[in-house]
């Protein structure tokens, strides 16, 4: 049995895995990157962040065109060709995928297409199309990610019951679609489908959509959903899905009462679960928590000294940028450097309007009984927001009262996802509201809302009425 040797094996080539592979290589290590898919980039690139943003962009044009009449610009009815749309979207994915492949090649990172299986704490077996391959490693980084949760009772093998992976393929524009779960994936895809013309119903078991975000930010998305979706059904559970001819019969349960309704399609977006079945982890000292996420220490090291884990597979916020950061922490731990840990992980929901936040939220402060000051700046007072008729937004700062230090930033509104980066830098740098208020922001831009928000904290924002 032939064994090849490498310094670091990275299992999974998503935004965590390929970042780890490249950074490890840049640090002079010999790297082998394994992915079971032929396409590098993981869920983010192929079935997540990237395709959903492409579709959101495309469909937004439809809505904007439709709503331009009052500005004196009139468009005709849009003609939508799904095949062309898919081709365009897939073209973006291909471009990105080949970019990653190029980067790997230039760096001389060995990429193997196959399924990785740990034989022990030093050896991984890779099942490729060309047969088995054994690789002996010094260190391994597990970055195999997560997949959509589809409970057995929902999994009827009916293609009309979709997860986000299938929904992003947009096989058709269904007349109506039920979205189970009002998290960010459900709300983003709901926006895509409703703009394409589907009647969207979102059903959420809890009493709010987008749990984790502050209610005053979520309100703006709720306003949009109320206007553009058919319904957002809170405090309601889905008991059962059943095939009913070419449609899906859905049994709901609310306040102890059950009722049925028929939908053309159903998207199940109730969460994501770790991909750690069939990895051979039982042959290592890696341990899992009760939800089957891999347990790691602050250096991303598992209970097996040779094996690290990063990204969705270790739980927490399942976000690409968290995985990429953890990739660096793991590599630096392997090369013996110290990475100061940070827990400022920004979150963005690409709904319409977008919601973004970083650091401490008001909700979290309330739960932990932390006393904070909150400064808010409504976008109705932003000249820039008025110029494109999107005053449905708000910027807010969460501030430590005694020191005026910025602990958290929350933004709802057009482009919030871009704006939040400034908030992240402010928090990471330990900036105070004073610092933000005294940094000149260009006019007229939405970034001014951050500055004016800081001014509002001191009670003298230019554009806020007294």
């Amino acid at each position: 049995m032939q064994k090849t040797k490498t310094d670091i094996v990275v299992v999974g080539a998503g935004p965590g895995g390929y970042a780890a592979a490249f950074y490890g290589r840049d640090k002079g290590k010999k790297i082998t990157l394994i992915d079971k898919s032929e396409r590098l980039g993981g869920v983010c690139l192929n079935h997540g962040c990237i395709p959903s943003k492409a579709l959101l962009h495309a469909t937004k044009l439809i809505k904007e065109a439709k709503e331009s009449g009052f500005r004196g610009i009139h468009f005709g009815e849009p003609k939508i060709n799904l095949d062309e749309m898919r081709t365009w979207k897939n073209g973006i994915l291909r471009k990105l995928e080949s970019g990653i492949r190029q980067l790997a090649k230039k760096r001389e990172v060995e990429v193997i297409n196959g399924r990785g299986y740990f034989e022990d704490s030093k050896t991984i077996r890779v099942e490729t199309n060309a047969g088995q391959q054994f690789i002996e490693f010094d260190k391994a980084i597990i970055a195999v990610g997560s997949k959509p949760t589809l409970p057995k009772t929902f999994d009827l093998g009916n293609p009309r019951i979709m997860t986000s992976t299938e929904a992003l393929e947009i096989e058709e524009i269904p007349e109506n679609i039920l979205i189970v779960g009002g998290g960010y994936i459900g709300m983003e895809l709901g926006t895509v489908y409703s703009t394409l013309g589907s009647q969207v119903v979102v059903v959420e078991a809890l009493n709010s959509i987008l749990m984790g975000a502050d209610a005053d930010l979520v309100r703006y998305v709720m306003m949009y959903a109320k206007k553009n979706f058919k319904e957002v059904r809170l405090n309601t559970e889905v008991e059962k899905l059943a095939t009913s001819g070419k449609k899906i019969k859905v049994t709901f349960k609310k306040n102890g009462e059950t009722f049925d309704e028929i939908f053309d399609r159903v998207l199940v977006s109730i969460g994501r679960k770790p991909n750690d079945d069939d990895l051979g982890l039982e042959n290592t000292h890696v341990t899992l928590d009760e939800r089957k996420f891999i347990t790691v220490n602050e250096k991303q090291q598992t209970r097996d000294q040779n094996i690290y884990a990063i990204g969705d597979i270790v739980g927490g916020m399942m976000l690409a940028h968290k995985a990429s950061r953890e990739a660096r922490i793991a590599i630096e731990a392997i090369t013996g450097e110290n990475s100061p840990h940070t827990n400022i992980i920004p979150a963005v929901v690409f709904t319409d309007p977008e919601i973004a936040w970083a650091g401490l939220t008001e909700d979290e402060a309330k739960q932990k009984n932390i006393q904070i000051s909150v400064a808010r700046f409504p976008w109705g007072a932003s000249g820039r927001a008025l110029t494109f008729d999107r005053t449905d937004g708000m910027t807010k700062l969460i501030i430590e009262p005694e020191t005026e230090r910025i602990l958290g930033v929350g933004i709802a509104g057009h482009g919030a996802g871009e704006l939040i980066a400034e908030g992240v830098v402010a928090i990471e740098m330990g900036a105070t509201a004073y610092d933000l208020a005294h940094s000149i922001h260009p006019h007229p831009t939405l970034s001014e809302t951050l500055m004016e928000c800081a001014e509002a904290f001191y009670g003298h924002a230019t554009h806020v009425a007294k």
């Binding site: 220490n297 000294q305 110290n338 100061p340 909150v374 330990g430 904290f457």
Partner: protein, 414 residues
Amino acid sequence: MDIKVPHLAENITGGIVAAVLVKEGDSVKKDQTVVELDTEKAVAAVPTKEAGIVEKILVNVGDNVRVGQTLIKIKTTSAGKQKDTAEVSEDKEKPKPQRNNQQISERGSSYKYHSSTDSVPPTAPHVRKIAQDLGIDLTMIQGSERGGRIILSDLKRYIQHIQNISEGRDNIPKVADAVSIPDFSAWGSVKKEKAGTVRQKIAEKMTLSWTTIPHVTQFDEADITNLLALRKKELSGFELQGVRPTVTGYLIKILVPLLKKHRKFNASYNVAAQEILYKEYLNLGIAVDTEQGLIVPVIKNIDTMDLVKLSKELESIADKARKRAVSLEDIQGASFTISNQGGIGGMHFTPIINPPEVAILGIGKAKEMPIVFEGKIVPRMILPLCLSYDHRLIDGADTARFMKDLVEALEHIT
């Protein structure tokens, strides 16, 4: 009305919340204790100055708090209108930011970063990286920027500062634990427990003492057979006066004239001013073993006390220490300390000096030993003695003379 951490005593900058004795919505009377603070060595009660209703409790048990920090908001029964604190964004009355820039390193009060929101010290990633590489605890550094933000020059100043300490040019307790703690989880599970204030203070003081004072420990032994016989004889008489003097009591009685004769052992050495400070009072620190750890309460003016008074004092102060009822005054002002392990059973050891004192006497357990006494081998009770001294001020010969006098006094007590 806000109930804040009061000024407790000199050099006490804060403490840990030991107990919150009220709930939100409770009505409180004037002077009622609402919070107990665990300070260096004593529990301090914080009372409310006015009667009213507890509106908001801002701290939890275990929180680190600093002097001036608000603990509880009370809606006073007399006050007319009370501001609603829920919507802070419209609150015009903004708290003043803390800007005590240079306070730490120069003055050396043991600074510890505190955040009312439990946040880590504000600083940029590049500063965090350097601190982590050097094993420096950022909470020990007071940032000079607005909001206490730590910049590179603050870190440099702090590093300079700990260098000064290790070179003995600075007598300020500011040494961070520079030993990096490995990841023990590689070898097995570890249970973490927060060190209490007493433990933190002991660690700080011992490190300071050990790193700044050149210690020497002199060992000796005294035959206390006669002393024990004397004690036995006198005991019934003392019991009528309600006390049972211990060997420690007799020993302290003997120490009084010795410390007056050997003045250096009851002195302090001011390195900066190059001065020797001879104290004309005799305050004795007594090391007491408590559940929280070592506490050293002080008996003031032992030279004015007879054995009865001294024995009473010894008993009450040790009892108070064990119950954590000593006040901050009770633990300050010692000029010499004794540490008696005899009750537990130790022999010789090397006690660590409690600065700014310059000497400490350790006592072991008296043991029956075969001794040549008046030409014959006889069983005698032998008491181990160990005297640690600061060699900057006291020389070996000084100590040998002190020890000789002590042993003689113990052996020839009448």
